[in-house]
């Protein structure tokens, strides 16, 4: 670690310039995940470029068209304390409240949670059902893509090592949209055994729009398009909810791991989806 460097640029352009000089350097947000890998020598980057002092990347604002723009370096704690966010994007704030502990939320960032791309990432399912887009900037170009396409596989994203996730953009949900996030855990502070975000819009007793996303049931956080297509047009009732659960159970692709079995995750997927659909449909009807 004798020549290891830790940089703290105050602007994105400075960050890209440093990265240009040290091409194998890694960008870090909270730094928590990466730093522990550097210390146990499982990662050996020549330098880390911390983005925490890049002010332009931090903050929650609503743009003129009503979209919510969350800077990549926004701390998860700031999601939970934001006055208006809980009403605008309830499932996201519920997920933020259940992420880790107070100590973790004070350091973990939205961008970090997404770029780690763990299949269990708490913020992913709600952002997926809100059809979030990620804005990515590199030294020479910027691009935007749907979050669903951002996740490629287990801890793999479309982010190039020279790029930074600068913001997550969520268009204002339609009027009448209801949503929620649920997480099954062993003890209260835990990685999700299974998690779900469900979003519905009910019109005249029928489901007009549905968004279902789950975590810890596949290599990446996933939209359950099969459940969504089933739901659209159906009556917002018990039977629909139960069948949605059954379809969810078949659509997910969980594995056995140290936390839970695939069989349990399939079972839990059905329960979470059924309950969320039933409760949201009941509330929205």
């Amino acid at each position: 670690m004798s020549n290891f460097q830790y940089h703290r640029p105050t602007s994105l352009s400075e960050a890209f310039r440093i990265h240009g000089d040290v091409p194998d350097a890694r960008f870090v947000a909270g730094g928590t995940d990466v730093l522990s890998h550097v210390r146990d020598r499982s990662l050996r980057p020549p330098a880390l470029i911390s983005l925490r002092r890049v002010r332009e990347l931090d903050g929650i604002r609503v743009t003129a068209d009503g979209a919510t723009n969350i800077g990549g370096l926004t701390r998860v704690a700031d999601l939970t304390s934001h006055a208006a966010l809980a009403a605008r994007l309830p499932a996201l704030v519920q997920a933020a409240r259940r992420l880790g502990s107070v100590q973790i939320r004070n350091v973990a960032t939205v961008g970090g949670n997404l770029c780690n791309a763990s299949p269990c990432a708490d913020l992913a399912p709600p952002l997926l059902v809100y059809d979030a887009r990620v804005r990515i900037e590199g030294p020479r170009a910027a691009r935007e893509l749907p979050l669903e396409e951002f996740f490629v596989g287990n801890r793999m994203t479309r982010l190039d090592p020279t790029e930074v996730l600068v913001a997550v953009v969520i268009d204002a949900p339609h009027a009448g949209t209801v949503s929620r996030f649920d997480k099954i855990v062993r003890v209260r502070m835990d990685i999700a055994l299974t998690s779900s975000a469900v979003l519905l819009r009910v019109e005249s007793g029928r489901i007009a729009h549905a968004g279902i996303a789950m975590g810890s049931v596949g290599p990446r956080p996933m939209r359950l398009r099969g459940v969504e297509s089933f739901l659209v047009g159906r009556a917002a009732d018990e039977t629909t909810a139960r069948e949605a659960g059954v379809i969810a159970s078949a659509e997910v692709t969980p594995i056995d791991d140290v936390r839970a079995t695939a069989a349990y995750r399939r079972h839990a997927a059905a329960v979470l989806v059924e309950r969320a659909v039933r409760d949201l449909a009941g509330g929205a009807a």
Partner: protein
């Protein structure tokens, strides 16, 4: 190659030369000899290393020391008054038997201190949410919750005087 790092800890400005990859925990326990903050897991799971950085509780074991540059850091050693009088939180922990082996206590007390600054009269549910990242193996937590309520009452009484 060591680099400088300067911040305020418990009200005192400090400047140290550190390895760039050092954690705030290492700097506190090492060159600053503030060994009250403990390493329980090194992984952000147990909260024994909780300190305040710019009023926010964080796990010092996961906090890069250089990120504390320019910040205001408070550790367990900074809670008692200059004349040694325990803070209301510390006194409540002592009074209620909320400390057994004591290893989790510094982090727990710092977390409670942050909670009460933010939420002076917390509900049981708020207390549990605030302390879920502070593990204790000895006490079963019951007397810790009692201490939080006692400290809250004490602090409200002092504020109203």
């Amino acid at each position: 190659m060591r680099v400088p790092c300067a911040f305020v800890v418990n009200g005192m400005p400090v400047e140290v030369e550190i390895e760039p990859g050092a954690r705030l925990l290492d700097v506190l326990r090492g060159p600053l000899a503030l060994v009250g903050t403990k390493e329980g897991c090194g992984n952000g799971e147990c909260g024994a290393c909780t300190v305040l950085v710019d009023t926010r509780p964080v796990n010092a074991c996961l906090f890069p020391a250089l990120e504390a540059d320019g910040a205001d850091v408070v550790t367990i050693e900074g809670l008692a008054a200059a004349n040694g009088t325990l803070s209301p939180v510390q006194q409540a922990f002592v009074d209620r038997g909320s400390i057994q082996c004591g290893f989790c206590s510094p982090g727990m007390i710092v977390s409670v201190t942050a909670l009460l600054r933010k939420s002076p009269d917390p509900t049981d549910s708020e207390i549990r949410d605030a302390l879920v990242g502070n593990l204790c193996r000895c006490t079963g937590y019951v007397q810790i919750v009692e201490a939080v309520h006692q400290a809250a009452a004490q602090m409200q009484k002092s504020d109203s005087r």
